[in-house]
Subunit: 539 residues, 2 copies
C-alpha cells in the first residue's frame, strides 16, 4: 500500500496534512515533544535497512514515530490514534532483519517505538524466569545476568541486538533447549486498542505469584493471540530461562554428500523427538558454510550462480562437507555422555559422517573465559553476538537479504522436496542457494536467505521475483512460511487458504471486535481491519 | 442460574414450551429423531453424576441433548440454535468427574454431545502423533495403538474413560512426560457459532503436511482460545504422542514427616525444571495414601475428621510415610540410570527419605505382560484404567467428590502455605484433608478432593461451603484454580481480578464477536455472552 503524500511527505492514509499536524501536536502533548520523531532523516531509521523493493520510496515508510516510556503514555497515544484514525505500527527494537526490520506494512503509519520501555523488572534465579519490557535486548538481559552471576541462561537468535519480547512475539528462534522463544513466554501484560490493560494467564490474579509459572491461566489462553499479531501492544512478558547446565557440549557433524540430506533429516528429527538432541539443531548446506568465510569473490569473481566445482573446491579448502550439522548437549555429565554416545551411533549410519564435539565444564570455567573462547559455538550457549552479520558480505560490499522460511514436516523426503524446489528457483534467478534446516521439536524450519547486492537494482528485482515465486510455489506444494517480510505478509497469508481463508476471516472478526478503528499494525501477517481490507494485496 | 420450567420440564431460558418443541423438531429433522434426547430418564445421564449442590433440581440440568455425527450436522444444529437462541453445552464424552461431569452451566441448555464423532483419523508412528475426533476416549486410542503394535505411548489422566480432546481442552493432566495434555495438542478443526469451519495453525494450509508438526502457524495462534472456552466447537485435533521409550522406571519416594513438605517440593520442582524428572510427579499426603485402601471405616468408624493418631496407625500398618512421591523415568538405559542416580542423591538430603524403583525393559517385554503386571504404576505408562474410582468408597458407600485445584508456584514455602490453609478449612468443615501436589514443568497443581457421602445432605452442604470458602480464601492469598466445577466457574473467575477483571472483559468482547447470540456454552469458565451477563453469579 503506497502512502498518502503531501509535499513529498508521507502521511497516514486518508489523513490531511493539517489533521496530521494536529495529531502530532497531541502526541507531543501526551509524551513530550522530544519523543515524537518527524524529521525525515530520523524517520529513515524506521525503514527496512535493506531498502528492499524500494522502487516506490513511499512504500513501507513511517509518517512519524512516537516513543512512549510507560503504559500510561501508550494509553494516551492510543486515544489520539483512535481519535484521528491513524494507524500505529508497533516495534520493540525494530530489529527484524530479513523481514523488513522496523518498517510498517502500511505506509504513513506512525511507528509506536517501545525502545524506551527497557526495564528488566525481575530475573529470578530460583524459578529461572525473567520479566522484561519490550525495549530490553538480548545483550541487555545477558549482561544483567552476567553482572549478577546468576545461574541461568538465556536463549538468543543469531543476532543479539533485537528485543527479547519482540523476537518471541514474532516467533523467533534461538539455539539452546529454550530456543523456541514464543513457547518460552509465560504471561503478558497487553494494552488493548481501547486503552484497557490486561494481564494474561495467572497475571489476571492480582495477588498471585504464578504469573511466570503457569502459562494457560483460567479460561481461554490469550498469549497466542498476541503473537505475530495486531490485537494489542505487549508491554511486559515473562520469559522462562534455562537453569545453568553442568556441561555444555557443542557438536558438529560433517557429511560428505549432498544426497545425504534425507537420511540426515530423518535421524536428526528422530533424535529431537526423543529428546537426545535438546536444542535447535542447525543443518547448513554448502553455500551457507562457505558464506561464513566472507565474500564469495575469493572463490568466484563472476556474476550469477557459483559453479558446483567452485563450491566443491571452497569446501575442500575449508575442510567442510556438503552438509554440516551443529547441535549441543547440556546437562549433568553422565546424561551428557549418554546423549553424545547415542548421537554418535545414530550418525555413524551415514557413510563418511564425522562428529566432533567440545566439552565445556560450565561450573568450573570462569564465565568470561567461557564466552571468549567459545567462538561460533557461543550462540548455542545463549551468548548474544552480531557475528552473523558477516554473511551480508557474501554478495557485494553492501549486502541485503530476505528470509524465506517455510515450515517442513520432520521428514527427510519432505526436506529433499523443498530443497530441490528452492535450489532450482535460486539458480534460475541467478542466486546461490544459501540454505538448510533448523530442527524444532516436531518440525523443521527451512532456512533460506536470498543474499543480494543492495547496490544492484537488477539484484533487488530478481530477489523480489524469486521470493514471490518461492512463496507461491512452495505454498502450492504445501509448505507455508512461519514468518514474513512486510512485503509478503499478504501473499503468505493467502497460502493459508483452508475453507476459503476461514482462519483469516476469524482473525479479522476478532480484530474488528478489539480494534474497531483498525489503528494497531494494520496488515500485520495479512490481518486487516475492516476499513482497510479492500487494500489487501491481491495475488 | 436456575432453569426456565414448564410442567416440571426444564426449558432453555426465555424459550416457550411451544418454541422449544419446534426447535426439537428442527433438530430431529437435521440429525434424525433418534439422536435427539428428550426423555427425562435419559437426560439424567447429562447431569453431574455426583448430584452435587442439587438442592434445586433444576440447576445444571439439560433440557435436551443432540448427538450429531458430523461437522455438517453440527452446522445444522448451530443454525437452529441461533435461530431460536437456544444455548448449547458442548461435551465430548462428558466425563469431567469432580468438575460437574457433563452438566451444563446454564439450566435448560441443550447438550451438544459429540460422543458419536469418535473416529481415530490417523495415528502416525513415524511422526508420533494422532488425529482424533472428540468422541474418542483414552481407552479407544490406547486399544487402537496396541492392536496395531505401534511404538507410541499416549498419556492418560487418572480415569481413562474420558475424551482425549475433551480432557485436553479442559487442560486435564496425565502422568507421562506428555502429561500436560493441552500443551500436546497441535492443530484443531473448529466449528464456529456461525457455522464457519476453521483449521488452526498449519491446518489452514489446505495442501500442507505440517498440521500436526508445528503448533503456532502463521499469524496469531488460536488454539489457546478454544481451551476451557465457549468460542467454538472443536471437531478434530492433533495430539502429540510419546515415542515408546526403551526403559520405563517408575519410582516412589516415601517421606517420614509431614514437615518434610517444603523440602520435598523444592527438590522436586528443581528436578522437574532441570528435566531430571520428566513426567508429572505426584506427591500425596497421608489421607490420600490411605484412601487408596478403600473405605476409611476399617480404621475409623466415627463421624468427622479421622484423628491424627488413627492416620498414623493406618500409615504404619500399610507401610506408608507421611508423604509419598511417585514419578517415573523414561528412555535409553544410560540416560535412565543417570537420572535415577541424580534423583536418589537429591532426595537423600531429606532424612528418612526412601526411594524405590522398578525397571521395565519396554522393548523386551510383551506389551500385554507389561500392562498386567504394572499395577498402580501403569498410569505413568499411559495405560488407561478406572482404578482411581476406588477412592469414592473412602467416605460412605456412595461417595462423591469435588476437585479444588489451585495453581501454586514451584516453591516449598508456597506449597506449605496452601496446604496449611486447605488442611485447616477441611477440618473445620468435618472433612479429611485429601491432598497433595502434581508437578508441572514450572508450577504445581494443588490436588485436593473434597470426598463426601452422597447419601448425606449435611455432607453435601458442608462440601459446598468448604469449596466456596477455599476458592475465596485461596484467591485472597494469590492461589487461583486452573479448572472448575460448573457450580464455581463464576466464583473462580471472580478471583482473576486484575484491573477490574480486564481479562474477562476482553474474553467477553471476543465472545460477543464470534457468537453474537451467545449460543455456545454460556458461562463456561465465567465467560458470558452479552445477553446473559446480568445472570453472572454474584460473589
Amino acid at each position: 500500500m503506497a502512502g498518502n503524500e503531501a509535499k513529498g511527505r508521507v502521511l497516514p492514509p486518508g489523513i490531511s496534512s493539517r489533521d496530521f499536524e494536529r495529531a502530532l501536536r497531541d502526541f507531543a502533548g501526551a509524551i513530550g515533544d522530544e519523543w515524537v520523531v518527524r524529521a525525515e532523516e530520523k524517520l529513515a531509521e524506521y525503514r527496512d535497512p535493506f531498502a528492499f523493493a524500494s522502487a516506490d520510496p513511499g512504500e513501507f515508510a513511517s509518517a512519524a514515530a512516537v516513543k512512549p516510556s510507560s503504559v500510561e503514555e501508550i494509553q494516551a497515544i492510543l486515544k489520539i490514534a483512535n481519535q484521528y484514525k491513524i494507524p500505529l505500527w508497533t516495534i520493540s527494537r525494530g530489529k527484524n532483519l530479513g523481514y523488513g526490520g522496523p518498517a510498517p506494512r502500511v505506509s504513513g503509519s506512525v511507528t509506536l517505538d517501545l525502545g524506551r520501555m527497557n526495564r528488566i523488572i525481575e530475573v529470578s534465579e530460583e524459578f529461572c524466569h525473567a520479566v522484561v519490557e519490550p525495549g530490553v535486548t538480548f545483550f541487555d538481559l545477558y549482561e544483567y545476568i552476567r553482572e549478577r552471576k546468576l545461574k541461568v541462561w538465556i536463549s538468543v537468535p543469531a543476532l543479539g541486538w533485537g528485543s527479547v519480547i519482540g523476537n518471541a512475539l514474532d516467533r523467533g528462534i534461538g539455539y539452546t533447549p529454550y530456543g523456541d522463544h514464543s513457547e518460552k513466554i509465560c504471561g503478558m501484560e497487553v494494552v488493548l486498542a481501547n486503552g484497557d490493560v490486561i494481564r494474561t494467564g495467572m497475571g489476571a490474579l492480582s495477588r498471585g505469584k504464578t504469573w511466570q509459572a503457569f502459562k494457560p491461566g483460567y479460561g481461554p489462553s490469550m498469549d497466542g493471540l498476541f503473537m505475530q499479531s495486531n490485537m494489542g501492544v505487549v508491554t511486559k512478558a515473562g520469559v522462562w530461562l534455562m537453569p545453568e547446565p553442568d556441561l555444555f557440549v557443542p557438536c558438529d557433524v560433517r557429511f560428505e554428500r549432498e544426497s545425504d540430506l534425507e537420511q540426515i533429516v530423518d535421524i536428526t528429527a528422530r533424535l529431537r523427538r526423543e529428546d537426545i538432541i535438546q536444542n535447535t539443531a542447525v543443518l547448513s548446506n554448502a553455500v551457507r558454510l562457505i558464506s561464513r568465510r566472507g565474500s564469495r569473490r575469493k572463490w568466484f569473481d563472476g556474476e550469477g550462480v557459483v559453479p558446483r566445482d567452485v563450491v566443491k573446491k571452497a569446501l575442500d579448502e575449508s575442510g567442510l562437507g556438503a552438509w554440516n550439522l551443529t547441535f549441543a548437549i547440556y546437562g549433568p555429565e553422565k546424561l551428557a555422555n549418554a546423549r553424545l554416545k547415542i548421537a554418535q551411533n545414530a550418525y555413524a549410519a551415514i557413510p563418511g559422517a564425522r562428529l566432533s564435539s567440545r566439552k565445556w565444564d560450565v561450573k568450573a570455567e570462569k564465565p568470561g573465559a567461557l564466552t571468549a573462547s567459545m567462538g561460533p559455538d557461543s550462540v548455542q550457549a545463549g551468548i548474544p553476538s552480531l557475528v552473523a552479520l558477516e554473511v551480508l558480505k557474501y554478495r557485494g560490499e553492501d549486502g541485503g537479504h530476505i528470509g524465506f522460511s517455510p515450515v517442513v514436516a520432520p521428514s527427510g523426503r519432505e526436506a529433499v522436496k523443498l530443497a530441490n524446489l528452492v535450489g532450482a528457483r535460486c539458480h534460475e534467478h541467478g542466486f546461490d542457494y544459501y540454505g538448510g534446516f533448523s530442527f524444532g521439536a516436531r518440525h523443521l524450519y527451512s532456512v533460506m536467505m536470498i543474499l543480494y547486492d543492495k547496490a544492484s537494482e537488477e539484484h533487488k528485482v530478481q530477489a523480489h521475483r524469486l521470493c514471490e515465486r518461492l512463496v507461491v510455489e512452495a505454498g502450492q506444494m504445501g509448505f507455508g512460511e512461519y514468518r514474513a517480510h512486510v512485503a509478503y505478509m499478504d501473499l503468505i497469508c493467502e497460502q493459508y487458504d483452508f475453507n476459503n481463508h476461514a482462519l483469516r476471516r476469524f482473525a479479522e472478526t476478532l480484530k474488528d471486535a478489539v480494534d474497531p478503528n483498525g489503528i494497531l499494525s494494520p496488515g500485520k501477517q495479512g490481518i486487516w481491519p475492516r476499513a482497510m481490507r479492500p487494500t489487501r494485496k491481491a495475488t
